[in-house]
Symmetry: C2
Subunit: 408 residues, 2 copies
Amino acid sequence: MTSLSVFRDVPIAQKLEGSLLKIYRQDDSSAKLFLAYKVCMTEGGHPWVSLVVRKTRLQIAEDPSLNYEYLPLAGLKSFIQASLELLFGKHSQAIVEKRVGGVHIVGESGAFQLGAQFLKAWRKNLKTVCIVSCQNEQCGLIFRDMGFTVYEYSVWNSTDLCSDPSMFVEVLQCLPAAYPAGSILVIGNISDCRFTKNQWTKLMSIIKSKQIFPFFDIPCQGLSTGDLEEDRKFLQHFVSLGFEFFCSQSLSKNFGIYDEGVGILVVAALSNQHLLCVISQLMDYVQALWGNPPATGARIITSILCNPALFGEWKQSLKSVVENIMLIKEKVKEKLRLLGTPGSWNHITRQSGTHGYLGLNYQQVEFLVKKKHIYLPKTSRINFTCINSSNIDYITQSIHEAVVLTEG
Amino acid sequence: MTSLSVFRDVPIAQKLEGSLLKIYRQDDSSAKLFLAYKVCMTEGGHPWVSLVVRKTRLQIAEDPSLNYEYLPLAGLKSFIQASLELLFGKHSQAIVEKRVGGVHIVGESGAFQLGAQFLKAWRKNLKTVCIVSCQNEQCGLIFRDMGFTVYEYSVWNSTDLCSDPSMFVEVLQCLPAAYPAGSILVIGNISDCRFTKNQWTKLMSIIKSKQIFPFFDIPCQGLSTGDLEEDRKFLQHFVSLGFEFFCSQSLSKNFGIYDEGVGILVVAALSNQHLLCVISQLMDYVQALWGNPPATGARIITSILCNPALFGEWKQSLKSVVENIMLIKEKVKEKLRLLGTPGSWNHITRQSGTHGYLGLNYQQVEFLVKKKHIYLPKTSRINFTCINSSNIDYITQSIHEAVVLTEG
């Protein structure tokens, strides 16, 4: 055997090197804190799991009647139906007309991977992807790898410290007209964008005239405002006007089933006939991507969504989580006020959801990371549920110092 | 909104139409039987699940100490380690030298999808995929979709009614030489190929001289002979000679966790350094494909593999399953002998594993499907565990009629 490896030209992948979490883990300081976890954390510093999920998981494991056969390629039917009803409402016209459907997908990236493969093959005129969000979205990587030209825009206005709907409208105005090539518009986390009616109308009209194909990301319905309906309200604008679109509906975070990465690629079409064609093509990609999807997460979620008592418990748990997040944000703001930290900190409580911008500049973030061992992204967008009673004083004091020391 | 759907050019996907299972389901006959299920069935006609799996599943659901955090991108470390030890043996030199590793994958297709993406990007000279197996392998679709030229060869010799190692050697001899382009060799189910030492040597020498990259498929270790070590023996030839290769190790069928589709893409490299580079690149693809893998299946399997008592129970259950398969095959053969069915039926018991060729021709298969409502593939390769005491008489009588009526 030759001693020359066939892998000799393969270098270590660079993207994963030097990630914030990696640097945090290598830090020996006992004071170190990580404020960028993806998931909702409890006061005790553990990933949050809805209690009703634990209960349901056990019930499913105890069920002797369950067989563990392969799921169909498209996934668990009852799971897809329940997820669509969660997203569009039980009495949604689109569901009644059977023009929305979905494919059970795997992981956080699965819906975008699957959707992008379809769009590349069947909507060849769409060459550009425009991602609009108030946060970094993972899906850019997927579209780029498939040869799309990807533009990413943040709607976080770092001067006014708010999610700015006018920035969204501006981005769309700059997109090329429909011909010769259209665009895919990924609409990420824009829940804090408070559109006026006028802005909505403008947005819709641009999307229509430029033949833009919307691809929504709904990563944690209910964890933004605590209200399941409120969190999907902007999607309604599109559904009611009969837009066709894709939507990545992830159900890992709002149930606290992070280790199962379960969700749906939702398809909205003009008619049931078109929907069935799209779903059948998607199934071909699924077969090549992973085959039959894993069942555990989907079974748990379906059991909860289809049982009114469990559903009520789950909704209540979402509400409590969000109330707790707001409490943490209030406390942080109040502590900064008491410390006399320069600036207004109202933007902290104006943002909804687990994550939000502290509104610090690079220099201030650098100070927190290097001097205080508090790890947060350069954007200063942190997970507020990483803050609890045992670390809030250290964190707010450190923010105070960062702001004061880097001033002038 | 325009009433022209953006999906108007998307037809129903053809590949999924008219599948055998679909036709079976549409058949109204009460006599209908389906002999092509993928999974091992019980006497009662349900998918087989190792009892120790049910027990472990429950224990895991009851464990209050488990948190449900995202798994790392590469998957559950202990699961990967345990799976590698299962495949190569606990004291394998390759494991000690840390030159074999793996990435936790999703579904039955995941390992091939991931491996193919890597090979396409990093071994650009490999343009041809040659799939050798005694059955149809799903992975051809994946390689084809990525632009590889795929050739599929069966080593089932329908004249001599056996898996024929000389056919394997012939296929490799016909492959192009290493330059300008090499080949990927997918080695599927060849467990019934009884190579002579001479044939092994020849095989190895061709693979070496033509710089062929082997990609093994180990879909159900232990379910072929009932002996975990026996079922991976041919892999040992490659490991001990220091070959570099990929291997899809699926663990859904041999544990009876079909609904979780869990496995590993195994990488064997010349050194740990090369291995780490390959794994790091694979992780980039994982991030885009599905992100963090689901945990349930991996947790169950790890618990069993790492606990000697549970491991013993599982090994015993594999042995019982395989003994039962052999018993079914013996009974089928004996019944055909008693019916005086023309021909020798020894090939039925010469084949190992759940599936095997009946050795019928197209006309005979057609007769079974059309006249007897017994659904089996045109190749006559059936799942013998679909045969049980309540249907064996009908099946053997029907085979008898098929052979007699279509003779001459």
